[in-house]
């Protein structure tokens, strides 16, 4: 099926029963993934979890040992990899052509994606400007810093304005400002151009901020998948409310422990964190806190973070989550 622009519809990536072994080593074991178009998806997992193998298979450069469904941008990758590749940009932990200039690196990849020479040069200049490398475009890449090379690798993945972009640890080596700009760019392009991003990273705080969906891969199996908040709540089943009293307030942990539904109260810098027995206890707890005779700066739920969820999942090796659209 095609949409109004003549493009195949359906999810950006739809995979089921994906397995890959290298001899006796099982790298991927019945992986199921569905990633909607325009999503920013994060694949999380420790080293050796199978992330690189997943990306290689999803790009048609490595064959799966077995798979039930393997569709990318609406096409069966096993039969139509050559039709999919022109729509996909990939930045992985590889190197640039060090003896070529930054502009040559970008323009030659543009030509490999079917652009003519003037278009590839113009796109290279556009990307160099976007990543703040215009003044260095003619220099050999071997003279670049790690951060500049990282920017250029990402720029290279974007050279053909792909509809699906794979990024591997995209902010590694970038300064905080460049990381922020990249995350802002990813969010904007995914919303405006409906470009799908598939990111593998260990920077869980960044992933939590930018991803609309994540999956945790460990030991070749998907341990959890879904929107980051949903994954976090499922993996870390606690309900925590942070209470911040005004400076000089005589509020104590015992005052909070006495309220209904409280399981435990932790003392933090500048306040308290109360773990409740269930989510349904939150409204009565908040009413109770507000009714206490103390001045407050804030009372807010403190949901579990993706990092907490990741540590819980990777540490516990829970049963694989059911396949979910993210």
């Amino acid at each position: 099926m095609t949409d109004a622009r003549g493009e195949m519809d359906g999810p950006a990536i739809e995979v089921s029963g994906l397995s890959r072994s290298f001899g006796p080593l099982v790298a991927l074991d019945s992986v199921d993934l569905t990633i909607a178009r325009g999503a920013v998806f994060g694949l999380l997992g420790p080293n050796g979890a199978g992330k690189t193998t997943t990306v290689r298979i999803l790009n048609g450069v490595l064959d799966p040992t077995s798979v039930t469904k393997l569709e990318v941008l609406g096409r069966d990758l096993r039969r139509e990899a050559e039709a999919v590749r022109p729509q996909v940009g990939v930045q992985t932990d590889t190197n640039l052509y060090e003896r070529l200039s930054a502009r040559e690196n970008l323009a030659s990849f543009g030509r490999l994606y079917g652009m003519d020479t003037p278009s590839s040069r113009s796109r290279a200049d556009e990307l160099l400007e976007m990543f703040g490398l215009t003044g260095r475009g003619g220099e050999r890449v071997e003279r670049f810093s790690k951060g500049m090379k990282q920017k250029l690798l990402i720029a290279r993945a974007l050279v053909a304005r792909p509809r699906l972009v794979y990024l591997d640890e995209p902010t590694a080596g970038l300064d905080p400002e460049a990381s922020h700009e990249l995350m802002t760019y990813i969010t904007r392009v995914s919303r405006e151009a409906h470009t799908t991003f598939f990111i593998t990273s260990h920077r869980l705080d960044e992933m939590e901020g930018v991803c609309t969906g994540v999956a945790v891969l460990d030991g070749g199996r998907i341990r959890a998948a879904g929107p980051p908040e949903q994954v976090a709540r499922a993996a870390v089943p606690r309900v925590r409310v942070r209470v911040t009293p005004a400076a000089g307030s005589p509020m104590t942990a015992a005052d909070l422990s006495a309220l209904p539904g409280v399981k435990e109260v932790l003392c933090l810098d500048g306040g308290f964190a109360a773990d409740l027995i269930e989510e349904g206890a939150v409204p009565s707890f908040v009413r109770g806190v507000v009714a206490l005779p103390f001045d407050l700066l804030g009372v807010a739920e403190e949901p579990p973070t993706l990092q907490e969820a990741y540590l819980a999942l990777v540490g516990n090796h829970q049963a694989p989550a059911e396949r979910q659209a993210v």
Binding site: R85, T92, T94
Partner: protein, 270 residues
């Protein structure tokens, strides 16, 4: 197959290869010795010490009279110069392209693996056949250009230093044109195709170069050793030999393009 994409792979490879001093320096020095050094020394020795030709009589008597054209007033030194330049050094012109192509082709996939650039290339829309044709072209084009450049230099030197000894313009002969235009490209393509295949499986350049060299050089050494004989016999026989190589090339290229799969290369990546 889109030739423009294969050519992009080739031009990128050529720019990378020829900006690497470790590859370029030996590629220049060895042919310089063979193409410039040997003939220059030989011809200068004949001109400066004509008596030295006496030591070559046994060697010269091995060549039939029909191998040397009727040149008026041809001296023994002129005869020795003609035989050496036209027949003896012909084998070098098969060894030069083999050496160049082995080094450049070994660097193709294996060099990219070593520099960790290959995976990025495999993710692009370049088809498997475009990739392998691009890699082969990246070695074939410079090999031929370089060998023909050596031929031009050799021609200039042997004519400059040899005409006073032989007595007239005598080089290049028809057989040399056939050698350079047909046999050298055909042999080079065979070597490159085999070494590119080895390079796809090797872990690094040194390994590919060593395996490629050990597989190719004995075979080509045999051909080069027979080159003098081929040159004596006829240009038609050289053309026939080139045709035989071209047929093997065509079969091998067909096979490579059909069996080459990027997924096999990725299996060797870390």
């Amino acid at each position: 197959m889109r030739w423009s994409r294969a050519w992009t792979v080739a031009t990128k490879d050529m720019r990378e290869t020829f900006s690497t001093a470790q590859l370029v320096v030996p590629l220049i020095i060895v042919p310089l010795v063979v193409v410039v050094g040997y003939p220059s020394l030989f011809l200068l020795a004949l001109r400066l010490t004509p008596g030295s030709v006496e030591g070559l009589q046994g060697f010269l008597s091995g060549f039939p009279d029909s191998a040397i054209p009727a040149i008026p007033h041809l001296t023994s030194a002129g005869r020795a110069a003609y035989v050496a330049i036209v027949y003896l050094f012909a084998g070098f012109f098969l060894l030069v392209p083999v050496m160049v192509s082995t080094v450049v082709a070994a660097n193709s996939f294996a060099g990219e693996k070593e520099r960790r650039t290959l995976e990025g290339l495999l993710y692009t829309p370049v088809s498997d056949s475009e990739l392998v044709v691009g890699k082969i072209s990246a070695a074939f084009v410079p090999t031929i250009v370089f060998t023909w450049g050596c031929f031009a230099v050799y021609t200039a030197i042997v004519d400059l230093l040899g005409i006073p000894v032989v007595g007239q313009l005598f080089f290049p002969t028809a057989s040399w044109w056939v050698l350079m235009l047909l046999l050298v490209p055909a042999v080079s393509l065979l070597v490159i195709s085999i070494v590119v295949l080895i390079s796809a499986k090797a872990r690094g350049f040194q390994e590919a170069n060593a395996i490629g060299g050990s597989v190719i050089l004995p075979v080509i050494g045999l051909v080069a050793a027979q080159a003098s004989g081929l040159m004596v016999l006829s240009s038609g026989l050289i053309a026939a030999t080139a045709l035989l190589f071209a047929l093997v090339d065509a079969a091998l290229l067909y096979l490579i393009v059909r069996v080459f799969k990027r997924s096999r290369i990725v299996s060797y990546l870390p």
